[in-house]
Amino acid sequence: MSNAVATPKKGGFLAGTANYLDERVGVAGILKEFGRKVFPDHWSFMLGEVALYSFLVILLSGTFLTFFFQPSMEFVIYDGVYGPLKGAEMSIAYASTLDISFEVRGGLLMRQVHHWSALLFVAAAGLHMLRVFFTGAFRKPREINWLVGFVLFVLGMAGGFTGYSLPDDLLSGNGLRIIDGMIKGIPVIGAYGSSLLFGGEFPGETIVARLYGLHILLVPALILIFIVIHLFMVVIHKHTHYSGPGRKDTNVVGYPLMPVYVAKAGGFFFIVFGVIMLIAATFTINPVWNYGGYDPSPVSAGTQPDWYIGWLDGALRLAPTHLEFVVGGYTWSWNILLPMIVGIGFLIIVALYPFIEAWVTGDKREHHVLDRPRNAPTRTAIGAAGVTFYAVLWAGAATDLIATNFKMSLNQVLTFMQIFLIVGPILAFIIAKRTCLALQRKDRSIALHGRESGRIVRLPHGEYIEVHEPLDEFEQWKLVDFKDYQPTLARPNAAGKITIRARLRAALSRFYFEDRIAPVTQTEIEQAHHHGDHAEIEAK
């Protein structure tokens, strides 16, 4: 008796299309699932978005550039419009870059859009990582997504570097020479590795074409795949939110994707695009015509990589010299190996940090409410130390510019940075931790006694008191809603032995949670209110 024939509903074009799509690909279900995803609102949640949008801009402008760029190292004599290179010997890659800059309509703008958005992409991704780190957003269940994001950051660096080397100008060639030197610095396999990469002796005739393949195919494909995984996991995990009344580890408070965030994010994309266009149209970036075609003999002063490779360049500059020795005919060049070990080691620590912290706390709960950085003093301090370490390496890449612009001795700048690379993070750790603890104490006192109002009242018996204004409950919630940990003790295992692992874990736990300010409890608040009421009454 059932009527199997679907009766098409009457409606306009939109409804008709929607129905058409729904019957074939189930759009309604998808929309219901995704459109009702709730995202909380906070400016710091948009940093990853900035990275995503700059990546889209990179894709668009990069596609334009591929129409005109020729990744060939074939020899050519330049016959374009740029005067001081007319008649110069160069590679086709460099000549086509010059043509893009001077002769292709909109070419220079697109080159500058591509380069500025690349710098912005990695910068926004880095800042996004810092936000995730300092708010503890990497905790269960998001450890793996942290790793995915980390891979994206490294891929961003790889994409940037392979692109930096394509124009085959003096600057990029110098950069490649440094990479060549680093590869050759690896014991035993170094020379083979370099030969393999460059197809023979540096610079060879193939490197630009090879890097081009990586730059326009493999790296962007990987970035896209990892972005998809990254966003997919955000959907699975749901977004984190900052603590506030009604915000729990079991819910997400915010607005739905449809229509609020679709509109907002769409608009934001155009804003980011617009900012990049504005910058690219007004500020020169990488004026390759100034550097000339690559020739292995000249090395210009002020040769630096783009900012995201700067910290590795800095590591090379800050490495102590004379650390070489020869074993069995192989040179162990520690002034190259040491920076590489430091760089890779730093990246590994960054990648594994969520797992390290999870092991120390032993916390298996899911966390969807973010920490305020001050409420995790040791983590914040570790982050500050890491940032300082990175920043010193980064500044290390600019020692020459720092020396000339601030009228200092290059040698002293270098020595200072070598020392500060070790001392700086320790100082940053101590300062950040103490600051966090002090802020926690302040929060605690505000939560219990309210804010200082600046109103001084003299009591009948002559005592002066300052009236504290109690917080409203919404404000107070933000100050008291956090979990904290207590240091754990090393406990014997089933066999009754305290393993080294357990001891290490206990030691780390002590390191993390020895200094702690306990969150305000309900009892304390009630007591304080009681006390506060008295003060209020007496004040009146």
């Binding site: 400016w43 001081p84 380069h115 710098l119 500020f283 783009d306 510019l401 000339t404 009228k407």
Partner: protein
């Protein structure tokens, strides 16, 4: 007899050595002569200029460089530095030096053009050295492509590929070349002031120097095609700009967007 025929005369070695010595020595002499030959002609200086120059020298320079310009512990000898050296140092304000330091700074010029000519004329009489180049020699009408290539090979390692300057050891530096006059660029090349090496005419011919000047002036005078240059200091400034201004601007926007709905 056959044996004897093939034997070298005992004098052979001596002859070969003598020939070798004559060749290298003569070659050196000839090369030096060639270098001398391409030296610019010394501009004729009047006796009056020399006398006045000597007075100026005794009053302003002798306390460090010695009464006979023979040099002291504080300053080098000026015998044989040539008029070009004096013109460069004094007309850029580097001399007379104000304070000892890693390097003498460019500052306000202390003498009039006439006085500088007199000083140069006097120092030029102390011993032969590079003369002040003529206007034709420094005119920026050479080959800028060649000049750019020569600049990158010979100068860019200290002065940066576009002459934005760079750091040397212990607080010394290669100054930026923007705004340096053609003549001073030429004089710096032939005299090698302070930490700069000398690029004599055998190393860079007068035509090479002219080409380099042409390149530098082209870069200086051609407006940047891509927009503001950010001091031409390369990726460090670009990175700094990205973090401070681009990202700063975008964060300001995120804060605005985040605040709207709250």
């Amino acid at each position: 007899m056959a044996l004897k025929k093939n034997r070298r005369s005992p004098l052979a070695a001596i002859i070969v050595m003598a020939a070798g010595l004559a060749l290298t020595g003569g070659g050196y002499a000839a090369a030096t002569a060639a270098v001398e030959a391409v030296k610019p002609v010394t501009a004729a200086a009047t006796a009056e200029q020399v006398t006045e120059g000597k007075k100026l020298f005794l009053a302003n320079c002798a306390s460090c460089h010695g009464k006979n310009a023979e040099g002291t512990k504080a300053a080098p000898s000026l015998i044989g530095v040539g008029a070009a050296s004096v013109e460069f140092q004094v007309a850029t304000g580097r001399m007379p030096g104000q304070a000892s330091g890693p390097q003498l700074e460019k500052k306000k010029v202390q003498f009039t053009t006439e006085q500088i000519e007199q000083l140069s004329a006097f120092v030029a009489t102390l011993g032969e050295g590079p003369a002040i180049p003529t206007d034709a020699m420094v005119a920026p009408n050479g080959d800028s492509t060649r000049g750019g290539e020569l600049f990158r090979i010979n100068c860019a390692m200290c002065h940066n590929a576009v002459g934005a300057g760079g750091a040397l050891t212990e607080g010394k530096y290669a100054p930026a070349l923007k705004g340096v006059s053609e003549r001073h660029i030429y004089e710096a090349m032939v005299t090698g002031p302070q930490n700069m090496p000398v690029f004599n005419d055998a190393n860079l011919t007068p035509q090479d120097k002219k080409d380099i000047i042409t390149y530098l002036k082209y870069v200086e005078e051609t407006p940047s095609v891509g927009g503001y240059e950010l001091a031409n200091l390369g990726p460090v400034v670009e990175g700094l700009f990205t973090w401070v201004f681009v990202l700063g601007f975008i964060i300001a926007i995120t804060i605005w967007l985040g605040a709207k709905s709250n």
